[in-house]
């Protein structure tokens, strides 16, 4: 625990030692709120909910979370500091967890900064707070799942660009599988429905949508948590076997 805590602190405050953190926060807020207002037609929809906010989240995360996650291990490998880190009395699992939790907390902080949206909705109308709360829970869980994949790809290379591209590709697949437009496309080329259903079960969107509508199921929670655990275990293996 002590070592996880030390690594967590180093990594979390590390974001703020460089301009990366501030650039990320600003871009994330502009993208998420901007898409809701201008593309999602937030005002003219005249709907006191955050559906139009949450619907863009997987797409915003698709590019921004790899930007946060790409440096987690790739930077350590490039600069050689992982030799320093992993020869300290710490297990690889603790090191992976400490770094992952720091990244996740940072992204959660960014997500919480969008609380101006529910405040706006609450001021203008009379929203149902349940779906908003569960939507935020879903957003944070989904962010964790995205980040765990980025942490894994970051451990595979010492090049941050490769890490970024790899994680965008994997996340893109996991988003696409559940995207209605993509599913309709699959249906139109006569892919059997059971197969499409099975595939979409692996998607972030499939397990995120119910939460934005106020439905929290054990299955969705398990999906995100197991995806995080699975990626992080692969991450540990990648670090221990990369010689």
């Amino acid at each position: 625990m002590r070592t996880i805590n030390a690594i967590f602190k180093r990594e979390f405050f590390g974001y703020f030692r460089s301009p990366v953190a501030y650039v990320f926060l600003i871009v994330f807020l502009i993208a998420s709120v901007g898409l809701t207002w201008f593309v999602g037609q937030f005002f003219s929809a005249n709907d006191a909910s955050l559906n139009r906010f949450f619907i863009f989240m997987p797409w915003v995360f698709l590019f921004l979370i790899p930007a946060v996650g790409m440096r987690l291990w790739a930077e350590e490998k490039r600069s050689g500091t992982w030799e320093l880190l992993l020869t300290l009395p710490v297990t690889t699992i603790e090191a992976v967890l400490g770094k992952f939790l720091a990244g996740w907390t940072f992204i959660t902080l960014a997500i919480l900064l969008t609380l101006t949206m529910p405040i706006t909705v609450g001021y203008l109308g009379n929203p149902d707070w349940g779906p908003i709360l569960s939507g935020y829970l879903g957003t944070i869980l989904m962010a964790g799942a995205f980040l765990s994949i980025c942490s894994l790809t970051s451990a595979l290379t010492k090049n941050q660009v490769i890490s970024f591209v790899l994680s965008v590709i994997i996340c893109l697949i996991l988003v696409f599988l559940g995207w209605s437009v993509f599913n309709n496309l699959l249906t139109s080329i006569n892919i059997p429905v059971w197969l499409i259903d099975a595939l979409s079960n692996f998607s972030f969107i499939t397990h995120f949508d119910p939460m934005t509508k106020g439905l929290i199921t054990i299955a969705d929670l398990i999906f995100y948590l197991s995806l995080i655990i699975f990626s992080l275990l692969l991450n540990v293996l990648a670090l221990e076997r990369s010689f």
Partner: protein, 306 residues
């Protein structure tokens, strides 16, 4: 105690370290020498548990680094090659991080320990500067500081004086020497002068194999000119002199180069007194007498170039 037992490391078909065994006991300062690419750093990485060996075991204080990594890692300080550090952190932040990782120091104890290494490694003036703004010498000293922070019984250092200027090199060497009694120290280097000045044991490896493992003095005896005597005489009767010296039973060979006469003893015996007596007895006007320099570089070259 640091122990390597039949360590082997293969990278694909390349054998980087080939069955290396040695022990570093308390009080030892082991100089780990070898040309670039000989397997020095790979061996150190295996000792510290960063690289898993293909076969063999590394132990720190009887803890197998692969089987009981945490117990083993608590017992050593490690200075990796080139002293990698988190660039954006300040010196104090890094030392704080290492102290927190190292053990459950109370805040008071932690500050005391950090204060102590800052003082020992002369980092006071730069303690609030970030690593990226520091010169190579300071960075190396910060790396050194993080390695000795918890006063470990074992120290493993990969080229600790790399990048330092001559004064700093001397300081670091003195520092290492001053800690020697209480610790087992292994340091890799390609500076032979360093080995002569602080190490009490030398291992030379080449192509992954140990060539020699002995005391620096024993290594010096490998030099063909070990204990050879150089004299300079005012006389010109060189032929006579040569004959006279040759008749001394301890002398193996004489080389004459202008005025300088180099006398090589049999079996590396110390013959400087004998030669001195002979010159006195024969009334040769002796201008200079000294032991021929024994350069470790030459021994190193002979061992590693064949």
């Amino acid at each position: 105690m640091i122990e390597a037992e039949n360590l082997v490391k293969n990278f694909g078909s390349i054998c980087a370290v080939d069955n290396i065994s040695f022990q570093v006991k308390k009080g030892d300062i082991l100089g780990f020498l070898g040309p670039n690419g000989a397997g020095k750093s790979t061996t150190m990485k295996m000792l510290t548990g960063f690289l898993p060996p293909t076969s063999g075991t590394a132990r720190i204080g009887n803890n197998d680094i692969q089987k009981e990594p945490l117990a083993a890692k608590r017992l050593f300080g490690y200075l990796p090659e080139n002293g990698p550090l988190y660039q954006e952190m300040t010196v104090l932040e890094i030392l704080n991080f290492i102290a927190e990782m190292r053990d459950a120091y109370t805040t008071n104890k932690k500050n005391e320990v950090i204060e102590h290494v800052v003082e020992t490694c002369k980092l006071r003036d730069v303690r609030n500067q970030s690593i990226e703004t520091l010169s190579k010498g300071f960075r190396q000293r910060v790396s050194f500081a993080q390695a000795i922070l918890h006063d470990p019984p074992c120290l493993i250092m990969d080229e600790p004086t790399d990048g330092l200027d001559p004064n700093q090199k001397k300081q670091v060497r003195n520092l290492i020497a001053s800690m020697a009694e209480e610790k087992s120290i292994i340091l890799s280097t390609h500076i032979l002068e360093e080995v002569e000045s602080i190490c009490n044991r030398v291992i030379i490896i080449d192509k992954g194999k140990i060539l020699i493992d002995e005391k620096p003095e024993e290594m010096r005896q490998r030099h063909p000119h070990y204990n050879a005597v150089e004299i300079k005489l005012g006389n010109t009767k060189l032929a006579e002199i040569k004959e006279e010296i040759q008749s001394i039973p301890e002398v193996k060979e004489i080389q004459i180069n202008g005025d300088d006469i180099l006398i090589i003893p049999k079996g590396g015996k110390d013959i400087i007194n004998i030669i001195f007596d002979v010159t006195l007895k024969n009334n040769w006007s002796l201008a200079n007498i000294e032991k021929a320099p024994v350069l470790m570089d030459e021994i190193f070259g002979d061992l590693t170039q064949n």
